[in-house]
Structures are given as C-alpha cells and as structure tokens.
Symmetry: C2
Subunit: 144 residues, 2 copies
C-alpha cells in the first residue's frame, strides 16, 4: 500500500512522538534500532520529514530528533504520507489512467471511489497523538 520509505517514516514519527511526550530527544541510531529500519536509509527519510516541518532536528552532540507536544496533536497521518509518497494513493486513478475523472471515469472509478475516500478520511483524521496514546497504554505495539 505504502512504500517502504513511507512505512519507515510513519513508524519513526510515531516513535519520536512517543519519546517527545516524555521530553526525550532521540538520535537516528536509537530510532532505527527501535523501529527496526536501516540506519542510513532512515536518515534520508527523517531529513524529508524535517524539511516538511513534521519533526524537528537538533544538530551536534546530544542532538537528535524530536517533535513539539502541540504538534503531536496537530499532525495527521496524511501529512506524513503526503511528504513521502505524495497523494496519488488516495487521489490518483486505480488503473493509473491520467485522464480518469468524475466526468470521464475509468471502469473501476466508482468502485474505488469509496475505498479511496475512506482511506483519505482515515489519514486526514488520524492524529499522531491518537496513535501514541494507545501505544503508551500498551494497547498497540510498534515492534516485537
């Protein structure tokens, strides 16, 4: 559904949020280790997220990645997905036809419409806070 980069990006952002709730800044190494992702590749993805103003980075010794508590409540899954994979997953045509539209629908257009709409709504409505909350209370798990 999402690219590997996007999966890592979401996992990383959730983990950074979890730590930021306790005012703990995390280094790239820590993050990659906890979300089980390749370190250098994760670095690239975190850079993208910093550029898109989703997480903050602090350089130098004791530096790392963090996210403001206020932002944890504001940032939605959709913003992470859009920053890494773009919005074609919930905007584009299911058959990859560039000319497909409401006025000129492809054969699966209306079939996919409801699914894409549900996905879009879910991504737009789900905040980091919501995800972190249930992770903190042990209802969900980020890594085995």
């Amino acid at each position: 559904m999402f690219s590997k980069a996007c999966e890592y990006g979401i996992r990383a952002t959730i983990y950074i949020s979890l730590q930021s709730m306790q005012d703990k800044r995390q280094s790239l190494k820590d993050i990659a280790q906890h979300i089980d992702s390749p370190v250098a590749f994760t670095a690239k993805i975190l850079q993208q997220l910093v550029k898109h103003n989703i997480i903050n980075s602090v350089q130098g010794a004791t530096g790392g990645f963090e996210i403001e508590k206020q932002k944890i409540k504001e940032i939605k899954l959709q913003q992470i997905v859009k920053a890494i994979d773009g919005s074609s997953i919930y905007m584009g045509c299911g058959l990859g036809l560039s000319e497909c539209s409401e006025k000129n629908p492809c054969p699966v257009h209306y079939k996919f419409k409801a699914v894409r709409e549900k996905l879009r709504m879910m991504l737009e409505e789900t905040s980091l806070y919501e995800l972190v909350e249930r992770l903190e209370s042990g209802l969900t798990f980020l890594k085995i």
Copy 2:
C-alpha cells in the same frame, strides 16, 4: 496502490472481456495499443494471467487472447490482483510489520482495518462483467 503490472493486467483483462463479449479474440498488439501499455511487458503479464487461468491464449496465426463469457461473470477483480500483486495489499500490515496481528496490533492496525476490509470486499465482489457492462454502455472509459 497497485503495481504498474497490476494496473496493466486489470486494464488488459477488461479489454479482452469487452471483445470476448462479441466473440472477438484479440492479439497482444491490439490489446497493448488499446490499453496504452508497453507491448512486451504486457505479454509477460498476460502470460501470468493465462497461467492463473483467468484468460485463455490461442497460439498461431489468428491466435490471441480471449475469455469465456461464463468466466466474465465469474472472475472477480480480486483474482487478477492476487495473481499479479499478491494479497498483501488487503491482508498485510499497513506499517509493514510482519508480527502485526489482531492479538498484537501495530499503532495503525485498527485504523487501517476498516479501509483494508472495504478494499478486500470491493475486490472480491466486483466481477469483470459488471465493469464491462458499464464500459459497453459508454458510462465508463478505458482509454482517452
């Protein structure tokens, strides 16, 4: 959402069905031209679909691809997707965690569950016939 191969596969199967409704067998060239896909790559995909018993191929002069009318009513989108992309799109974890399950859910598990379920149901319920019907009547379009 789907791979390019899967997009071409669905488009090709719909086009073959459309022609088979009028007992017209189509050559690879015809198909690729009408669905706007690379010829040789499309050949590989059609071979996969033949192997998965979704379409039939006839070799030799006047040969080509076709699909039995009865099958047009039976084959569901899900079978095409499964043959080419596998079922991870509506079965796997949204974050790519292999250990994610109902008992051990990832942070987005329940959020994705409804979306994946809707996608799965749609793919399992949508028959080729349904798609071809609306294409025949000009309500939808396969290519601009």
